[in-house]
Symmetry: C2
Subunit: 331 residues, 2 copies
């Protein structure tokens, strides 16, 4: 401690960030050296490649300024792990670069508890990081392992493949509307469901590992289904046709807003962190079995066709006109 | 482009951050998949471990608010690569999480040019990242390869080892004093030398690779020699005695400030990004040869002894009293 009683950078790390995710024995074996040296060391299993993704969350942009530190801690890891899931990679370890306006021990305590919960859930130790002073900004890099040459890329979709999504869509967009007081929700149960969909998205890691054997391409839905399926189509040089009536909606969302609004949330709302993937029609039965096995709904919402854009067919068989093609920073 | 003529996130990445460091053929072979998917993929060479380090630079804290974007671009990569050097790891690839208050194309152009220069120097492609809107903050994670079990750790110093440093110390601290108008520098050549020591530190990658064979422990000097040698000693459960008269000072620093001030800069000034390492006295000749071979001065400044702190012996043979043991955020 300094003379003023404040924590130093090293004490802060020791108090709040030591042994995060260290119950993950398998992952620990892949980390010969963790926090405390100039670098951490990762030993990638033979025959595997390392999948990496880095994401930044900025206060007031990616989460409300007054979000609970526990929720932020959970969410910052989950959204990055979702990128590993989109490649079919198994979580290995993560790093955290934390920029804080001041040492607020109450905030740090809540944040590190949320982070620990997510790290335990995904079996990922925190193996390195940086703490700096400045406006609240969190950057996480996740590291996963996937069999060499087998990662699920965005570029593998083929004409005739079907388009699938996991879970339900639009809940996180409705949650954000509720948080920003654009959507009134009376029931405490509904509120709590929506908040958990926004703050505790569950990265579809287990499902993704199984999809390695049968999916042709995958992406996680962070910017909105239309935008993300659009990325997948561009990478694969194909188009997609999806059907609004097939979009999987939670009963909570269905009960809260009119059909047209829920479809809009499902198509253009970000932050769902479900998987959108393509697969040949022949493996449809296998995918149904995976859905049972993993306990996660999987819905076939459309097909891959020739062309260069994503169209959504409405209930009357006519393409919906969509204005907002997913969230973009800097727009 | 959006209707307002502003770049979207995707256009920004394509325009300023595609093919950064891609002249590095060897490194490219280790990257089966780069920017543009949910994750990048790294293929670690057989028998090697991956060394990783993440660092954040915050405007106004780690560099002056009015620093040139070109200088920031160079520096943000160099300071992270220095961590790879401290482990003896060879640069492989890096990721960049960039938080920007707005899309300032002049700033982005300068920044990406500086970043490209450093990426080419270290032979590292930019393989992934994130761009977000918020206060100017830059986070880089570097990835390097080192033979399994051979990385230079902080914990390997043994009693009787000698303490060495590369290059000269204190120049970056003098540069910062100059930038902050605490130090007047008349000569344009001296100004330019100091600025380049602060903004373009050269990570000692080549030297570090050679040190794998003969050094017992290493750390890079980012927080100041006393603080960083202190970290090394704590990790190794030893103490160190160094001699102020042996500290390597540049002729520019020597000519600009009184001896006592230059010693203070060298001991406690951060940002030098030189290597501090320990080695058995028996390999002293070998280290002299490496210094010649790499064209980098290496100076023996002291020895590893039993105990628990770092002492600096002054010219009169009496320990110097040092107040400030290196830079810490949050102090």
């Amino acid at each position: 401690m300094t003379e003023s009683g404040k924590l130093t950078e090293f004490e802060l790390i020791a108090r709040y960030f030591s042994n995060v995710g260290c119950s993950a024995k398998a992952a620990i074996n892949a980390v010969p050296l963790s926090i405390g040296d100039d670098c951490a060391l990762i030993s990638v299993p033979p025959g595997q490649e390392l999948a990496i993704s880095i994401d930044t969350l900025v206060a007031g942009c990616h989460f409300p300024e007054d979000a609970s530190p526990y929720d932020i801690g959970q969410r910052v890891l989950a959204v990055s792990v979702s990128d590993l899931a989109a490649m079919g990679a198994a979580p290995l370890a993560f790093t955290l670069a934390l920029t804080l306006p001041e040492v607020d021990q109450e905030w740090l305590s809540g944040f590190s508890q949320g982070l620990r919960k997510a790290a335990d859930l995904y079996g990922m130790p925190l193996i390195g990081g940086d703490t700096t002073r400045g406006p609240l900004t969190l950057t996480v890099q996740v590291h996963g392992a996937v069999e060499s040459g087998r990662a699920l890329r965005r570029s593998g979709a083929r004409i005739g493949d079907r388009v699938f999504v996991s879970g339900t869509l639009g809940d996180a967009a409705a949650a954000l509307a509720m948080i920003q007081q654009r959507l009134a929700v009376a029931s405490e149960d509904d509120k709590s469901f929506l908040l958990s969909r926004f703050y505790c998205p569950e990265a579809r890691v287990k499902l993704a590992g199984e999809l390695l054997a049968c999916a042709s391409a995958a992406i996680d839905i962070s910017d909105g289904l239309l935008a993300d399926l659009g990325h997948l189509c561009r990478s694969s040089a194909v188009a997609a046709k999806i059907y609004s009536q097939r979009l999987p909606l939670s009963s909570v969302l269905d009960s809260l807003v009119a059909k047209q609004q829920s479809i809009d949330y499902a198509l253009t709302g970000g932050d769902d962190y479900e998987l959108c993937f393509t697969a040949a029609p022949a493996v449809r039965k296998h995918i149904e079995a995976l859905s049972q096995q993993c306990g996660i709904p999987i819905t076939e919402i459309g097909e891959i066709i020739a062309g260069d854009h994503v169209a959504c067919v409405g209930p009357d068989g006519v393409d919906l006109a969509i204005n907002k093609a997913g969230y973009q920073h800097f727009r």
